[in-house]
């Protein structure tokens, strides 16, 4: 199993380690619910070094990314600006979801998922060869100049990062959401996967353990993958492999907003998306009874059946919530039935952002 540079820090912190896509990662350090609350109410941190930062550089870097991904990197005009999108196959299925950071016209940083990184890199290299463009693709997860990533999230995350890294305060304090600043060797981005304010800090791997330690001493609580999943689900954010994969169109996974079909630009998968418009709605469910919604449970609506793609118990709402693919005619506010073991339980259809910035939205 592969390990991040923070593996020993997690063990010293009492983490229960699990296999996550071939990476040994912390599930929790005692209670995933307490970790969840720490992020909603104060500050928590996640080791996300298993994700893969990829540098795309060269005179054709922009042209390459314009064709490679579903959103339009032409929207990135200010250095540091970040863009969430998906990389599609020719059939319009999602190879991966990713974030692109614009550093300058010939330099981009792309961050992809852990378990998909190898296939992503192979796909990117093959397209670069096909298109004969002048760019280099350099993964930064291993080797001499490997990077680590630590996400610090929560209402007090910025303040605590500022205490620990005073040199980045002036550059980072004004960062609007979805921007990044380069401070020395650090890329500090106001992005995240929790629905709270905070930073994702990319730094040289050998410095990660001391930053982790310093943040812990500043009162930032280490959080595992368990809390990461309940936080992202409350925030209504997709998880690759669960809410979408290579067989699912981004239009059917609530990702139409990350797809640019309006401009003239061509990109891989565009023709398939135009030929096959949205088939289902991707919406949220709040369970109105006791129980827990889980992936793959069937949803019965007045318009036909759907399916849950992610479900959990929401620690903030103290109710079960889910993301689901539902018939196109389904409307927000309707009551549907979910088959949970031998029962049908009632759930309400909502827009899929359940909790943001500590507040319940549904």
């Amino acid at each position: 199993m592969q390990k991040t540079v923070l593996n020993e820090s997690h063990r010293q912190g009492g983490a229960r380690m699990v296999d996550f896509g071939g990476w040994e990662m912390p599930l929790h350090y005692g209670s995933q619910i307490e970790e969840h609350h720490a992020v909603r109410r104060d500050a928590g941190m996640f080791d996300v070094s298993h994700m893969c930062a990829v540098d795309v550089r060269g005179s054709d870097a922009r042209a390459f990314l314009r064709r490679l991904i579903a959103n339009n990197v032409d929207r990135l005009t200010v250095p540091g600006k970040a863009l969430y999108s998906a990389m599609l196959n020719e059939a319009g299925g999602v190879i991966d979801d990713l974030i692109v950071y614009y550093l300058d016209d010939s330099s981009y940083r792309v961050v992809v998922n852990a378990g998909t990184a190898d296939k992503d890199l192979a796909w990117m290299a093959a397209r670069l060869g096909d298109w004969q463009l002048g760019a280099t693709i350099t993964p930064r997860r291993a080797g001499a100049d490997a990077l680590a990533m630590i996400a610090v999230q929560g209402p007090h995350a910025r303040e605590k990062v500022g205490q620990v890294l005073p040199e980045c305060r002036s550059a980072c304090a004004p960062l609007k959401p979805f921007f990044a600043a380069l401070v020395g060797d650090y890329l500090i981005a106001s992005t995240g996967y929790t629905g709270e304010d905070g930073y994702e800090i990319t730094l040289p791997a050998e410095q990660a353990a001391s930053l982790w330690q310093a943040l812990a001493e500043a009162g930032v609580r280490p959080c595992g993958l368990g809390a990461r999943d309940t936080l992202r689900l409350e925030a209504g954010m997709n998880l690759y492999g669960q809410d979408m994969d290579e067989t699912v169109s981004p239009l059917d996974a609530g990702l139409a907003w990350t797809v640019d079909l309006a401009s003239e630009r061509d990109f891989v998968g565009k023709a398939a998306l135009l030929a096959r418009p949205q088939q289902v709605q991707f919406l949220g469910l709040v369970l109105l009874e006791r129980g827990v919604l889980r992936a793959h449970q069937e949803v019965r609506t007045a318009h036909g059946n759907g399916q849950i793609t992610s479900g959990t118990f929401s620690p903030t709402m103290q109710q079960s919530i889910a993301l689901a693919r539902l018939p196109l005619a389904t409307a927000v506010g309707e009551t549907v039935q979910v088959a949970v073991r031998d029962k049908l339980l009632s759930a309400r259809v909502v827009r899929p952002a359940f909790v943001r910035n500590g507040h319940i939205l549904v």
Partner: protein, 127 residues
């Protein structure tokens, strides 16, 4: 690993306590609660229900997963613990106090087939 010596155990990670009145209290072991993580939902059988040995009797769900709880022996359900339904985290906090349901065993001698603490410890360590 907390495995009290005065209890009996099953291979499916239930513990069984013989009460003075002949009833059996049943819960899930410390090992089981640790594997599941924070519990958020517990569904218990109806009082009066007749259960066969190893029949599904209750469901415990953590944030992460759902697990069935099985009847350790044949018998009928005589009482359920509403306290853990209202506060599932009690099972995480003190798994051997937070019983789930009580059974009247069809035959007291069926208990002899269950594991003692040493045998359960071996089972957990071998896993």
């Amino acid at each position: 690993m907390n495995i009290p010596s005065d209890l009996k155990y099953t291979r499916s990670h239930e513990w069984v306590r013989s009460e003075a009145d002949g009833m059996l209290s049943i819960g899930i072991t410390d090992h089981a609660q640790e594997l599941l993580g924070d519990l958020v939902f517990i569904e218990l059988p109806e009082v009066g229900r007749e259960l066969a040995a190893e029949q599904e009797a209750a469901v415990v769900e953590s944030v992460k997963a759902a697990a069935d709880v099985y009847a350790p022996v044949a018998g009928s359900v005589v009482e359920v613990n509403q306290t853990v339904v209202d506060a599932p985290e009690r099972v995480n906090q003190d798994p051997y106090t937070a019983w789930l349901f009580k059974m009247r065993p069809a035959a007291a001698s069926d208990l002899d087939a269950l594991l003692d603490a040493a045998a359960y410890q071996q089972l957990v360590e071998a896993a």
